[in-house]
Amino acid sequence: MKKKEYGRKMGGHSNWPEWIYVGIVIALMLWVGAEAWNVERLVEHVPEGAEVIKVTGQQWFWTFEHEDGTKEIGELHVEKGKAYKFEITAKDVNHSFNIHDYVVLMDAIPGRVNTVWFAPTDVGEHDIQCREYCGLIHYNMRGTLYVEEPSS
């Protein structure tokens, strides 16, 4: 079918607005994908010198081990302005380590170490919680993050 005849059969309208429409939607999707990819790249880049804190989840509490060997259960003390890298694992079933106020969320899986980092910006207390249903007392698998002034 010739182009002119096809155009007539189609009711004599041009379809270039449709292509622009499709192009805009594709461009927006690409933009969304690029932004998300870039943010993920930035967020996953652990800064050099971040202090490692080993986090272990088990039914139904959190254990933290600092680089100097200090251990804490159910509470975690950190200093403002420093970067911390959490190495997260679990002893029994799947858990998920979450500090809601700092948008820290990472699964704690037995036999696997997952990492996530953050740098607290303000002194204060924040909730730590489990975000993966892990049994009867999952709802109360909580802890407290204490952000304190730097010691030095």
Binding site: I20, E35, V39, G49, V103, F118
Partner: protein
């Protein structure tokens, strides 16, 4: 054509400026760290804005098409198929 160039210029600016912003916001200086709260929530709100714009445009276009191309629209014209009865 000019409007298409303008449109893509706007889209390019929308992509390039935030990207450059983030590169600088990453904090190359020691002791300066990215605030993941800011970065993640910013992304969330921007993507929600895009999602709502796309949703509005797509559903708005469909609603308009249904309204404009209904048989009872005053400007509705029969297609050649309907007019001539030839398929």
């Amino acid at each position: 054509m000019k409007s298409i160039v303008g449109l893509f210029l706007v889209l390019a600016i929308l992509v390039i400026i935030p990207a450059a912003d983030y590169v600088f916001a990453a904090g190359a200086e020691p002791g300066e760290y990215l605030d993941r709260r800011v970065v993640i929530w910013n992304l969330f709100y921007r993507l929600m804005a895009v999602a709502f714009v796309v949703g509005t445009v797509v559903s708005g276009t469909m609603i308009w098409q249904c309204w404009r191309f209904r048989e009872s629209h005053p400007k509705a014209k029969p297609t050649p198929y309907e007019k001539e009865g030839v398929w």
